[in-house]
């Protein structure tokens, strides 16, 4: 866009050289718009770093200077654009020049809108975030503050200020020692709880070992009882068989006695006869 404008400016300038001999306003406006574009890009890049770790007071300062620079550029370019417009109204020029000037005016409007948008975003972010102060910056700031105090206040006020600061430091030290004591006591309590939990853990482990051993003992008891049951069943079977055999023995004994009785009777009868 800007480069096309510059080329258009050159061609028109050469043509005007042949006809009128004046070329400054239009080319100046184009150059101004180009510079404003570059400055607005830089400004946007600076705005994008707001709220990041790179956000420092130096960056804020650069942002402010860039804003002022853009304002100055806008003022100058606006004045030149007005000159070009007056030339267009006063002098009879060709239609191509009018069209080029109108295009430049539209470009200028667009650049202004873009700058206003970036400026609004910058204001928002400057309000939302505070600049990140590096560690190295603090001593110099403190020194500047000291020098400022030295230059501004009377010796009495300076002594009072030192005393107040010393008391404040003493107060903070007291608070720190108090909090440290509370924290140490709490730590002791928590350590005691931890040791008790460790003891309970050991007790649970011992209990597991004991229960496991007793499981083995119960298994032994079970196997003993099963063996006893089997032996008793076999013994019962043997006793049943013995009982049956003994019943048969009784029958045989009776039979023998009867036979002996009969034989004895026959012998007695034969002897008596």
């Amino acid at each position: 866009m800007s480069f096309q404008d510059i080329e258009a400016g050159r061609s028109f300038a050469s043509r005007r050289n042949l006809i009128n001999g004046k070329q400054d306003p239009t080319q100046a406006v184009a150059s101004g718009i180009f510079q404003i574009n570059t400055a607005v890009s830089t400004f946007q890049r600076l705005v994008n770093t707001l709220g990041t770790p790179k956000d420092t007071p130096e960056l804020r300062d650069k942002l402010h200077k860039t804003r002022l620079h853009i304002g100055q550029l806008v003022k100058d370019t606006s004045a030149k654009l007005k000159q070009a417009s007056e030339i267009d109204h006063n002098v009879e020029v060709n239609a191509s020049k009018k069209i080029a000037d109108a295009k430049l005016a539209k470009d200028f409007q667009a650049v202004l809108k873009e700058f206003q948008k970036a400026q609004r975003l910058s204001a928002e972010r400057e309000t939302a975030y505070t600049p990140f102060v590096p560690q190295a910056l603090l001593p110099s700031s403190y020194t500047a503050s000291e020098v400022d105090i030295g230059s501004d206040k009377t010796p009495e006020q300076r002594a009072l200020l030192v005393e107040s600061r010393r008391q404040e430091v003493l107060f903070l030290d007291n608070e720190i020692s108090f909090n440290e004591a509370i924290i140490e006591e709490r730590e002791q309590g928590i350590q005691e709880i931890q040791s008790q939990i460790g003891e309970v853990n050991e007790i649970f482990k011992d209990l597991a070992v004991l229960v496991h051993e007793q499981g083995a003992m119960i298994d032994d008891i079970g196997s003993n009882i099963e063996h006893s049951h089997e032996a008793t069943a076999q013994a019962k079977s043997q006793l049943a068989k013995a009982s049956k055999t003994q019943r048969s023995n009784s029958s045989l004994t009776c039979l023998l006695l009867v036979i002996f009785g009969i034989v004895l009777l026959i012998v007695i009868i034969v002897l008596a006869a």
Binding site: N174, F178, E185, D206, H227
Partner: protein
Amino acid sequence: MGILYALVGRGSVVLAEFSGTTTNASAIARQILEKTPGNNDMHVSYSQDRYIFHVKRTDGLTVLCMADDTAGRRIPFAFLEDIHQKFVRTYGRAVHSAQPYGMNEEFSRILSQQMEYYSSDPNADRINRLKGEMSQVRNVMIENIDKVLDRGDRLELLVDKTANMQGNTFRFRKQARRFRSTVWWRNVKLTIALIVVLLVIVYVVLAFVCHGPALPSCF
């Protein structure tokens, strides 16, 4: 043990106090009130013999208590915080214009209750409550260990008895088998005896029928 004396004051003016025992804590407390200048917030502890005076000042109101050195700092300062909140909630802005001992009649009872609570109730402090609960768990687990050991002893007895029973039943089985064998042999003997007697009778009868011991007529 625990918190023995408590006091609420504004500057060096005592508004309410309570003492659990007869000590000179009141005089020492007044000295501490006068010795701590200024109006800024602070936490500080002074030791006196076996006791420690804990002082807390917030918004111009000073709360002080005397505690054993075994009570530590966490519980006394929790007590001071609690008393401060109760006092401000009860009396509000009247604190700044009250007369000496203006609140002593009613607030000393609250001081007494809170001293009792923070001195003896384990729930006053979360860490102490956890400590108590862990102690209970440990005691229960120790009882469990004892019961399991006792169970182990009885299981050992049971193992011995069942082993004895097993041995006895093995012996019983062996003797039952021997008894069965004995009875069987007796049965065999009786059978043989019966057969022999029957043979003898048959021979005698044949001898009579055949007219002679050598049985001449039958053959």
